[in-house]
Symmetry: C2
Subunit: 349 residues, 2 copies
Amino acid sequence: MRAAVMYQAGDVRVETVPDPTIVAPTDAIVRAVRACICGSDLHPFHSKPADSPAKAMGHEQIAVVEEVGSEVTGVAPGDFVVVPFAYADNTCPTCVDGFHTACPHGGYYGSDGVGGLQAEYARIPQASGTLVKVPGIDAASADDALLKSLLTLSDVYLTGYHAAFMGDVAPGKTVAVVGDGAVGLSAVLAAKRMGAERIILMGRHRDRTDLGVEWGATDVIAERGEEGVAKVLDLTDGLGAHVVLEAVGLMPAYTQSYSIARTGGVISRVGVPQYADAGVGWSSLFARNLTLTGGVAPVRAYLDDAIQDVLDGVIDPGKVFDTTIGLEDTPAGYAAMDERRSLKVMIEF
Amino acid sequence: MRAAVMYQAGDVRVETVPDPTIVAPTDAIVRAVRACICGSDLHPFHSKPADSPAKAMGHEQIAVVEEVGSEVTGVAPGDFVVVPFAYADNTCPTCVDGFHTACPHGGYYGSDGVGGLQAEYARIPQASGTLVKVPGIDAASADDALLKSLLTLSDVYLTGYHAAFMGDVAPGKTVAVVGDGAVGLSAVLAAKRMGAERIILMGRHRDRTDLGVEWGATDVIAERGEEGVAKVLDLTDGLGAHVVLEAVGLMPAYTQSYSIARTGGVISRVGVPQYADAGVGWSSLFARNLTLTGGVAPVRAYLDDAIQDVLDGVIDPGKVFDTTIGLEDTPAGYAAMDERRSLKVMIEF
């Protein structure tokens, strides 16, 4: 089969690799219908050392089940499924708590002998716990807009949703979203769904923030740093936002987040932090009782409800995809996202 | 009047200083009934530079109102009051939110022209918002145990309570308390009050942990570092505690806290952090969706209810005081706490 492989920063190739096969009785093999490129794929695209092992790429997919291991229940060949970006057993205490991305029997694609999802076929470990069937939909004849929205449930929309969920967004609250990438815009959509009274979107790409406004942003702030902080404080009687959804993962976004949070407020991070340590002392968090929450989104926890919301037309998160390519064009897709020519790239099979 | 002043690390003196007077119409003057020494007073006792300005010490007191400014309402001369460790207007949006320690019209004792509370008399700014009357009690004839418990409401008990409150301690949860100082023990008492199912107290001073057990700790772990982490995981099926209450403020306690927290759990800090940056990245908080919360306790927010609980005999937090001294012996009191000969020292006037 064909699959995307990254060799080093800036060097993604589509290559012929062995077809995946059932390894454990809990595995399934799926055939890709749609996959996509994630903002987090750009981190290794910027920094992967030349002497590090080549890495199978991609962790977002909707697919059709081809084959299942002997212990797989709940999904069967022919089922149209959403593949969450991490696999998990969905039965251990950690999964029952709703934190599937830390499942002790789970893991991530493109590591530990599991391939990536920017590929024609994939082996899905813990298939019973991981894959969720899309009821009543035939992948071959489904509407493109529907497929796009379903694909976002593999990661991007539910990562934005997780930020809002962990931040306890609720009616009456003012929410600030830091970052106008696809996750930030998804966070706007989720915050609106949860009833936020005011949603301040911080981003400077007009075509992106326009989608944020369509999805519920009440204010857009293009300024960054101190200027951006001053604008948020201006809009909030000097108090700041009850909830800050941080969808970037870089240190300036972290600093900005605690600077615009209201005393006693919450910073909910879903941008994978590109730093190990950060300010948590008296002047950053402690004196104002700021709460820092969030983490890797356990999209499996939210997936059943979210599929229904998409099928019911309640949400339309697929609008984050502004570019569609074939698998062979994946390297160009990385470049388009890296150069901000594309918000998010879908791969059609 | 006589008051405690710190000149440098290890050098606390009781000196004659000018009596405080009403400066603003919102001020009150109070006469101390009891004051005490805080674990946080030991930080400057260890580190205050010799060339820094002398500092008026103390921020915990129960007192009788002597005089009030022309705009003070709610309290009057003769009233027996609890003095929270920070003053606040109790009316601004920040106070209404319940975060009085960040009130823009508030502040701390021993700075900004306001004296300390290890002193015979004190000026209390924002007296209407700050002081809370103890109803039906005459300070002069009150029982010593009652006075001790009321005094803890100025800071220590309600700081422990704040940790449990921000950590969302609730029935069914396993709580770990890091630190067996007076705040940590208070956190045990508060967690028990909130219905925690299991309370693991981490501390190695037997006389202290015994009080923790009396107050509801179900397990005591004396080990620190990796050994202590392993013990907590052993007790919790390898999962860790739903809520960790961190009552120390030093980096090893922070590291220990995230190591013993259950995935998706909460670390609630009330020990004033003696560090600015700490681990918040993938391996510390993010991969396991740990929430970091807490901060400077807004004891005023909890004070009315807590006074009633003490008067009703529901809680007995005054047991943290194991030493009583007169004001002149305050320097010896600091030494006793610093050398761990005393858990917490009360000053009787």
